[in-house]
């Protein structure tokens, strides 16, 4: 088990966004999280990556208990040192890429491994160049983010996350900010990673892609998991009426 989130609750200004959600990721799994806007999918990822703090529940990465509900019913987080260790277990790819505009592509990949993980610069650089080659961006190592297309930026962002050697990679709607003709190149890279057994959690609106690439699908609505299972079952023969409605709207 790489990640285990139990009974997560999260509210924004009294609005309950996550209502007692449990969610776990095993090594080698590719999980797609689907659902309408405002269903809490992104918030779930943001809680898993410590960009938001949970109100109650527990988060465990590998052998580290990052957060757990304390005596007063409120979630208590582990010391910074443990959280930092957890952060080395995951990577996050944002909808808006969030590349560092003042670093060139190569430095976007190498800065954190050298600075945060204190790894050898030469070794990190070599790995980074190999990652860029894999992403089809060998010629862009010295380019700056604003010289890249959206699809290229997102592939750099994926490479940046992979440069940290994470155990699980999270994607928060990785193609939603892209022109339709650019989504293909990003989805191809994710598919390639799935074939290499990279553990991934993908929040997405690309239904055919989710069906093809994942081995587990979670359908969320209103802050709860409505239905989950094998993609063929969830997409092909949904058990819940709400899931059926949602998928129908998508296929229209």
């Amino acid at each position: 088990m790489i990640l285990e989130m139990k009974n997560i609750q999260k509210a924004f200004d009294g609005l309950q966004v996550l209502k007692d959600i449990s969610f776990s990721v095993d090594s080698g799994e590719v999980i797609s999280v689907i659902g309408p806007s405002g269903s809490g999918k992104s918030t779930l990822l943001r809680c898993a990556t410590f960009l938001e703090t949970i109100d109650a529940g527990s988060i465990r990465y590998m052998d580290i208990l990052a957060a757990a509900t304390g005596a007063e019913g409120k979630a208590v987080y582990a010391p910074k040192k443990d959280i930092l260790k957890c952060k080395s277990y995951f990577g996050l790819v944002f909808q808006q890429f969030n590349l560092f505009p003042h670093f060139n592509v190569l430095k976007n990949l190498t800065d954190a491994p050298v600075l945060v993980q204190k790894r050898d610069r030469a070794e990190v650089t070599e790995e980074a160049l190999e990652l860029l080659r894999k992403m089809g961006l060998s010629d862009k190592a010295n380019a700056y983010p604003d010289q890249l297309s959206g699809g290229q930026k997102q592939r750099v962002a994926i490479a940046r996350a992979l440069a940290m050697n994470p155990k699980v990679l999270f994607f928060d709607e990785p193609t939603s900010a892209l022109d339709p003709e650019l989504t293909g190149e990003v989805l191809k890279v994710i598919r390639q990673l799935a074939e290499e057994n990279m553990t991934m959690v993908i929040v997405t609106h690309e239904m055919p892609f989710a069906r093809a690439v994942s081995n587990h699908v979670i359908f969320m609505d209103g802050g709860v998991v409505v239905e989950e299972g094998h993609p063929e079952q969830v997409f092909g023969d949904p058990k819940q009426e709400r899931t059926r409605q949602f998928l129908q709207n998508y296929n229209r």
């Binding site: 080395s88 003042h102 940290m164």
Partner: protein
């Protein structure tokens, strides 16, 4: 007084002008960052104090602030001030005043950076300090360069306010020369204007070069 003597006298006094200018920048650019931290501090008391400080600095004339700092010690505590206090008081007043403006400029620059930058750094494990120094600061400077250029040019001209407590920078010297008997008169002011203009022209040029240096991204 002959014209060449007048020009030399002004040039000597201009060294004081450049001294006020240089020391003010040297002090207020970093102090502005500290003021920014205070202004965005999570402790309400510090935030409140800094907000009042900025408000006063921007809401009262720099000329008055200079007088308060110069006369303050002797009027309030009846202490003897050292001989070089005149120059020191000007520099302190200017630093404290300009830091307030720089703090607000920095704040505008930092708040215009997308929150995704901080989030990306947080996920990658950067500490808050590392994020600020490596990710936020370079992007902030890129964004605030035009505003900083404005302030730098204003500062060159503001140095003339030092005359109010009798600091002999170029403006004070020009006035002394112009009203003296047998002086070149109006020509003195014209030469002083040229000094200011040329120096500002050079500063604007340097700032635009720095701005270009930053424009390799975005």
């Amino acid at each position: 007084m002959s014209v060449p003597t007048m020009i030399i006298q002004l040039a000597i006094a201009f060294l004081t002008t450049m001294g006020i200018f240089g020391l003010t920048l040297l002090g207020s650019l970093p102090l502005g960052l500290l003021v920014y931290f205070g202004k965005t501090c999570r402790f309400r008391i510090i935030r409140g104090i800094v907000t009042v400080y900025i408000s006063i600095m921007r809401g009262t004339p720099l000329m008055l602030q200079t007088m308060v700092i110069f006369f303050g010690p002797s009027l309030l505590f009846h202490t003897q001030v050292p001989d070089n206090w005149r120059f020191t008081a000007v520099v302190i007043a200017f630093i404290v005043n300009y830091a307030a403006y720089f703090a607000e400029i920095y704040r505008g620059g930092i708040e215009s950076i997308p929150v995704g930058q901080t989030e990306a750094a947080a996920v990658l494990g950067y500490t808050r300090g590392q994020t600020f120094v490596r990710i936020i600061l370079p992007q902030m400077f890129r964004r605030v360069m035009p505003s900083l250029t404005n302030e730098v040019i204003t500062l060159v001209k503001d140095t003339s306010l030092a005359h109010v407590i009798g600091t002999v920078e170029m403006f004070t010297r020009a006035r002394q020369i112009a009203v003296a008997p047998n002086s070149p008169g109006m020509l003195t002011f014209a030469v002083a204007a040229v000094f200011y203009y040329v120096f500002n022209y050079i500063m604007a040029f340097i700032m635009s070069r720095i701005e270009k240096k930053f424009s390799y991204f975005q």
